[in-house]
């Protein structure tokens, strides 16, 4: 416990240095902006800003990127409530009740509760990272290659369970992602794999390139399908009275608590993340409510729970990255990229070798959350005005910014073309109802999985039973198998579909 406080204090010293405070502020502001603007997501933004962090010190760079991630969770709620356009996938469910509240003239309390819930969840998650960090790092030392492999299988199965739509399609997307990750040189033998003698492919497909393609370009092309003029049902009247009433506070407190707990858990699990956390929290609220019919008509719990959950999940998803070195979702995978750029290998050693980085980042999250709650409520007016920028001007800007961003990662024009190709692939995937998120997760975990699989089999002298004879690995695989069976069972499947149809109702 003493250690914990010493560490946190150290972290605050790092995070409170002027440069890092500025980075935190920039990250939080950019994140909010991204969250507010629909049509540009967190993944594309973090990928776009990766090259920008080249010139920054590593701690500042990671503080900024982390700020973007949780800042986007705040920003997304603003547009969901005021305009009924979720700026982020994580705020889709917030729009259901939040916009109804805005229509009843209660936009102020809705925004305030969303901010308060997010702040509370952010605080809890920050403490959770600090508390769980050290013990999990110890656990990581007990992990051999077999355990790592099984853990990643579990993570991928989670991604399948949590992806919406067909289980089969989600698994296929993961395998496709694994295959994509194998393009390039083999880690052990150096043999060129599936690169067709194209020198640019010898190094493999860049993760940022693929992410920008399937999440940035594909999204733009898809939005253009519907025509650039989106229907913006803006709540025009001035927002008065930010303060929620006493009743609002009493109603939303348990919802915030439940959302925070649920979000924290789903964030830690590999394959989870902020999107699923908000959906799950909304469903839970509806289940425990005495009068579920209020939901969809402006129930404040419907705003409080998902907003707390997505913010908690956004932060706790740093735990597996910092302790085990396994990115649990696509944004975290990009963080791995950012760390690698600065010569930091994520994993159990980071906590010991880079205390500045880890604890500085953790402390900055709390500071960032504080900044967000202070700057966001007064800035609501500005964010809303930004939404009046028509999409016909916004999308070419995003295209150019993405293109410059990809080019500057490696100074390679081929990367830009590849991102374009993946944009088309992503568009096709959307049209055929394939989810791109599992694909990216597969691509992220591919090299790690293959490496550990090969190492485990080498150590066991080719004996595949090593995965079930080592206790930890066996437990992880058993959980994965159990989850998969449960998902396919018709009973639970109906429930899962119910969770995901929430957004359309």
């Amino acid at each position: 416990m003493v250690d914990l406080f010493a560490n946190l204090a150290h972290g605050f010293v790092v995070a409170l240095s002027p440069v890092n405070l500025l980075m935190c502020l920039i990250g939080a502001l950019v994140g909010t902006l991204v969250g507010v603007l629909p049509g540009i997501g967190t993944i594309a933004t973090v990928a776009m800003l990766l090259p920008i962090t080249f010139g920054l010190p590593p701690v500042g760079a990671l503080i900024m990127l982390a700020g973007i991630y949780y800042g986007a969770q705040y920003g997304g709620s603003t547009t969901s409530i005021l305009v009924n356009i979720p700026g982020e996938a994580t705020s889709v469910v917030t729009a259901i009740d939040g916009h109804q509240m805005a229509r009843q003239g209660r936009a102020g309390p809705a925004l305030a509760i969303a901010a308060i819930g997010s702040f509370f969840a952010g605080c809890v998650a920050t403490v959770l990272i600090a508390v769980l960090g050290a013990p999990l790092t110890k656990l990581a030392l007990a992990f051999g290659p077999a355990e790592y492999f099984s853990l990643m299988v579990l993570g991928l199965i989670f991604a399948v369970v949590l992806a919406k739509g067909s289980v089969l399609k989600a698994i296929a997307m993961i395998v496709f992602g694994l295959l994509l990750s194998m393009v390039g040189s083999d880690i052990e033998t150096g043999a060129s794999r599936m690169a067709f003698n194209i020198p640019e492919l010898a190094d493999g497909l860049g993760f940022a390139t693929v992410a920008m393609g399937v999440f940035g370009f594909a999204e733009i092309i898809r939005n253009l399908d519907a025509g650039a003029e989106m229907n913006r049902d803006l709540v025009q009247q001035k927002i008065t009275g930010l303060m929620p009433t006493k009743k609002d506070l009493i109603d939303s407190t348990p919802a915030i608590l439940r959302g925070t707990v649920l979000g924290s858990i789903l964030g830690i699990l590999p394959g989870g993340g902020a999107v699923i956390a908000s959906f799950a929290a909304y469903t839970l609220e509806k289940k425990v409510a005495k009068n579920p019919s209020r939901f969809g008509r402006g129930a404040i719990e419907g705003v409080a729970a998902p907003e707390s959950a997505n913010n908690a999940a956004a932060q706790t998803s740093f735990i597996p990255l910092l302790t085990l070195g396994i990115p649990p979702n696509a944004v975290m995978a990009l963080m791995v990229g950012a760390m690698t750029i600065h010569g930091i290998v994520p994993g159990p050693q980071v906590m010991q070798k880079q205390p500045d980085l880890v604890w500085g980042m953790i402390a900055s999250m709390w500071i960032g959350n504080l900044m967000l709650i202070i700057i966001n409520l007064p800035l609501v007016g500005i964010w809303v005005r930004l939404l009046r920028v028509p999409y016909r001007l916004m999308f070419p800007s995003i295209v150019i910014f993405c293109a410059i961003g990809i080019y500057s990662v490696n100074n390679a024009p081929v990367d830009v073309i590849l991102a374009g190709v993946f944009g088309l692939i992503g568009y096709w995937l959307i049209k055929h109802d394939f989810e791109p998120a599992p694909l990216l997760l597969g691509m992220v975990l591919g090299p790690l999985m293959e490496e550990n699989l090969r190492r485990a089999l080498l150590i066991s002298r080719g004996d595949w039973s090593v995965f079930v004879t080592r206790p930890l690995s066996a437990v992880l695989l058993a959980i994965a198998a159990g989850l998969l069976i449960l998902t396919v069972l018709p009973n639970l499947r109906a429930k899962r579909d119910e969770v995901f149809t929430e957004s359309e109702s």
């Binding site: 733009i220 399908d225 080498l458």
Partner: protein
């Protein structure tokens, strides 16, 4: 892979789907043929178009059937063209023929499954020249082949659900957005080195703006110019990323 994108917008009849699968089955060969045209004017290296045509035609018509019926010398490895025909094209031909006699209940799932299957088969072919298991250690090709087989199996299952259960048909593809956004990206990639950031960013902005008919040109030009200016200041100066700013012939 880009050439697998052109799925028909409203394919309801099976013959059309089957024809598209046929094209898909020959897509790598066609792609190499188009690519090889560049060698005539001296771009890139590789086989000339005539060589490509003869090699693939003989592989498809003679080499692969010969291999199937055992006339091939078992000790010699198959040449890659024959392998491509064997691993990739023939299975897809079979699928195309089967498609003709099937009722497709959900074209979205069916076509999606088939295209993924093609990708899986293609990966199998692409990793066929790599070393496999030796002893108990993995070769370079073991994992790609493992996941390739897995992808083919999964996509067959997806295609089967498209045959067995009702579902969505093919959705409509717009052409304007994808075309101009892709053109803009392509132009940027080709122009950034010779023409520099200022010219390529501004031109790409204008090309991308053509992606919707709602564009109003005055505001687009103004926004494009200010965005270009902003990027020209942000990337090279504020962030210190090396990037050519102006066309090469002007700087010299």
């Amino acid at each position: 892979m880009a050439d697998t994108m052109g799925q028909p917008a409203t394919a309801t009849r099976n013959t059309r789907v089957a024809l598209w699968i046929l094209v898909l089955a020959l897509a790598p060969q066609i792609f190499e043929l188009i690519w090889s045209i560049g060698t005539i004017v001296g771009w890139g290296s590789g086989r000339g178009p005539l060589q490509v045509l003869v090699a693939h035609a003989s592989a498809l018509l003679a080499g692969a059937p010969g291999a199937v019926f055992g006339s091939h010398d078992a000790k010699k490895a198959f040449p890659p063209d024959v392998l491509l025909a064997l691993i990739y094209s023939y299975p897809l031909f079979a699928v195309a023929i089967v498609t003709l006699f099937m009722t497709v209940r959900s074209a979205q799932d069916y076509v999606g499954g088939i295209v993924l299957m093609a990708l899986g088969l293609f990966a199998l072919w692409a990793s066929s020249d790599l070393q496999g298991m030796h002893g108990f250690s993995f070769g370079a090709g073991t994992a790609p082949r493992m996941f390739g087989v897995l992808l083919v199996a999964l996509s067959v299952a997806i295609a089967l659900t498209g045959l067995l259960s009702e579902g969505a048909g093919l959705s409509h593809y717009a052409w304007r957005g994808p075309l101009f956004v892709m053109a803009s990206i392509l132009f940027f990639a080709l122009a950034i080195r010779p023409l520099g950031l200022v010219v390529s960013a501004f031109t790409s902005f204008l090309i991308a703006a053509m992606g919707t008919h709602e564009t109003r040109w005055t505001e687009t030009v103004i926004v494009g110019a200010s965005l270009t200016l902003g990027c020209a200041l942000l990337f090279p100066y504020v962030l210190g990323l090396p990037m050519p700013m102006f066309p090469r012939f002007l700087v010299q």
